[in-house]
Amino acid sequence: MDTRCENSVSSPVDCQSVRQISRPPWGACQSGLRSRTTSAPAVAPNQAGGAVAFPPLQTYSEEESMMRDAVRKYAQERIAPFVPMMDENSAMDEEVIRSLFEQGLMGVEIDPEYGGTGSSFFSSILVIEELAKVDPSVAVLCDIQNTLINTLFVKLGTPAQKEKYLSRLSTDMIGSFCLSEAESGSDAFALKTRAEKHKDYFVINGSKMWISNAEHAGVFLVMANVDPSAGYRGITCFIVDRDTPGLEICKKENKLGLRASSTCPLNFDNVKVPEANILGEVGHGYKYAIGMLNEGRIGIAAQMVGLAQGCFDHTVPYTRQRVQFGKRIFDFQGMQHQIAHVATQIEAARLLTYNAARLKEAGRPFIKEACMAKYFSSEVATLTTSKCIEWMGGVGFTKDYPIEKYYRDCKIGTIYEGTTNVQLSTMAKFIDKEYDH
C-alpha cells in the first residue's frame, strides 16, 4: 500500500492513492465550476484520455457534476421563491416537498428498482450542500431522508420491509427518525420509551422530542427499549406508520431557525406494533443509531458548508457594490482580510466534508473525520453568518435581505445530531487510541 503521507502515526491515514486507481477514467474529471467562488478550472489538466493521478478533493465524476448542476438550477428556480414565506410561516410548502420527490432528491442512494436514483453517498452530499445554499431547512429534510431513513431501510430492511417502504420513501413519503426525548438528548441511550412484548406484537409507550420532519412524515423509525434491565442493549428500532392508533404528533416547536423544518414532540399511548415491524434485530437499536448518525454527521457538515457558502454568496456582491468614502467597501483592507479569512474557513470545512464522504465511500475508517467535518462546518457556519451580517451593515439586520435567516439557521448546527462537545469528546477518544502502541 503506497503511502504518500508524511505523518507516521499508526492510525488510518488519509491517503488518496489506493482509492484513485479504481476511479472510472471515462470522461473528464472536472473540478467544480462554481460561478462565483474559487477559480477552479473547468477541466483538470493532463487530460489526454486518463484521469489525473491524485486529483484534488474538488474533483467530481461526470455524474456527480451533472447532479450538482441540476440541483443547483432546480433549487434556484423552484425553491428560492418559497424560502422567505416558509420561514415566516414556519411551514414547508407542499409544492416544494412534491418537487423534491419528483426530482429524485429524496432517494439518491435508493436502487432504481425501488424508484430511487441509484447514485452514491457523495452525490447525496453534493445535493444537500446545494440545497442548503438556498434553504438549510429543505436541505435537512433531504438529509434526514437520505442519510438516516433510507440508509436504515437499505441496510437493515427485510425484503418485505424494503418492498413496502423503499419505493414510497423515494417517491412520496417522508420518514422521521425518533431517538431523542425530553430527558435524553446527548445521553441518547438513557431513553425511556418502552416497548413491551406481547405474543407477536409490541406495545410502545412514551414520548419523543425534537423530531424533525414529523409534521409531514408517513413513517417513523422509533427507538424504544424492550428490556430496560439490559440498559442500552434493549434499545430496538421499530417501524411505526403514521396512522397507527395511539401515535400522537404534537404541535411543532416555534424555533429560532430552520423554521420551515417541522420539529415536533411525539406521544406514544399504547401504540401496537407488529413484530414484523422491527427493523434489524431486537436490542441492536443502539448500534444502528450510532452507525447511522456517524454518516448523518457528514450530511449535516454538508448542510453547514452549503449554508455558509450561500450566505457568503449573497453578501460579497453587496460589498462589491456598496460604496462608502468613495470606494467599494470590499476595497477596504480590513474588509478584505475578514472576507478572505472566512472564505478560507469555508474552503477548509468543505474539504473536511468531502474527504470524510470519500473515506466513507471507500469503506475506510471515517468516524473521526466525520466528527471533525461536522464540528468544524457548524462553527464555520456560525462565524460566516455572523460576519456576513456585519459586512452588510444595517441591511444585514433586516428581514428584507436573506442574510439574517442564515444567521438564525446556522445555530442548530452546533447542537443537533451530536453537539459540538460530543463531537470533540469522540474525536479525543480516537486521538487517544492513535497513540496506543
Binding site: G27, Y74, G104, L105
Partner: protein, 254 residues
C-alpha cells in the same frame, strides 16, 4: 417512416454570465467561463421528448457540433429524455469559424444518414443570435420549415405549426419531413431529474467527424473585430411635447 427526430443542441456561454470581450478584440472570453445548453435548444429537446412521450415519434437523437465539451451538452439532452447522441467533432480553428452554414450542412447530412423525419432546432443561439441554421438546413434538404414555433401539432404525415411573427401568430401546415425551430413559448423545458441523469449515463453518444459526412467546414466569413456595445448615455427629461419635438429635431433624429 422512421419516426426519428433529430434535435440540434449548442453549447454556449451560460445566459447568466457577464460577457467580457478579449483584450485583443478578436472575440469574447470563453476560457474558464460557465457554459450550458442554449436555452432555445433546451426548448427544442423538450418538444422532441414530449412528442416521444405522446408516442408520435419513436426516437429522439441529440446532435451537437463542437469540441470535447459538447458531449456535456449532449448528456444534458440525454438526461432530459433523448435516446442517444451524436457528437460531431469540431475543434480548433474549425470551431472558431463554425457557423450556421457549416452546421446546417452537417445537420442535412445527418438527417439523410439517420433517415430523420423531423429536425427540431432552437430558433437561434444566444451567443451569435444568427437565427439561420434551421432555415439553411431546410433549404439544403429542400424540406418545408416551421420556424419560430410556439405550438406544434402532428397531424398524420403533416405538421401544424403556429408561428410567432411580428404581426401576431401565423398558423401553417407543412409536410414531413420538415425542419422546426423552437421559439420561447413553445414549452417549458423540464429539469433533468437525478434518476434521469443516472439513466443518461447508459445512453450512447456516437462520435462522428465532419469529413465522414462529406462536409467541408471552410467558412467564407472572417470576424474582423469584436467590441463592447457603446456605454449607455444618460437621457434627458423634457417638460412638454413641444420640447420633445424640439430636442429630437436638434439631435437630427426628426
Amino acid at each position: 417512416m422512421s419516426g426519428r427526430v433529430l434535435v440540434g443542441v449548442k453549447r454556449v456561454i451560460d445566459y447568466a454570465v457577464k460577457i467580457r470581450v478579449k483584450p485583443d478584440n478578436t472575440g469574447v472570453v470563453t476560457d474558464g467561463v460557465k457554459h450550458s445548453m442554449n436555452p432555445f435548444c433546451e426548448i427544442a429537446v423538450e418538444e422532441a421528448v414530449k412528442l416521444k412521450e405522446k408516442k408520435l415519434v419513436k426516437e429522439v437523437v441529440a446532435v451537437s457540433c463542437g469540441p470535447q465539451q459538447s458531449q456535456e451538452t449532449i448528456r444534458t439532452a440525454l438526461a432530459m429524455g433523448a435516446d442517444r447522441g451524436i457528437h460531431v467533432e469540431v475543434s480548433g480553428n474549425d470551431y472558431e469559424t463554425l457557423g450556421p452554414l457549416q452546421v446546417s450542412k452537417i445537420m442535412a447530412a445527418l438527417a439523410k444518414k439517420e433517415d430523420a423525419q423531423i429536425i427540431i432546432l432552437g430558433k437561434q443561439a444566444i451567443d451569435d443570435d444568427c437565427n439561420q441554421t434551421g432555415q439553411m438546413t431546410a433549404a439544403l434538404l429542400d424540406w418545408p420549415q416551421g420556424t419560430f414555433a410556439s405550438e406544434v401539432t402532428l397531424d398524420g404525415d403533416k405538421i401544424k405549426v403556429v408561428r410567432e411573427i411580428d404581426g401576431g401568430l401565423e398558423t401553417i401546415k407543412i409536410n414531413t419531413p420538415a425542419v422546426l425551430t423552437a421559439d420561447l413559448r413553445l414549452n417549458t423545458p423540464r429539469y433533468a431529474t437525478l434518476p434521469n441523469i443516472m439513466k443518461a449515463k447508459k445512453k450512447k453518444i456516437a462520435n462522428v467527424k465532419p469529413a465522414d459526412l462529406g462536409v467541408n467546414l471552410t467558412s467564407k466569413l472572417e470576424v474582423l473585430r469584436v467590441e463592447d456595445p457603446p456605454q449607455r448615455q444618460a437621457g434627458m427629461k423634457v417638460e412638454t411635447v413641444e420640447d420633445l419635438v424640439g430636442k429630437l429635431k436638434e439631435l437630427g433624429k426628426v
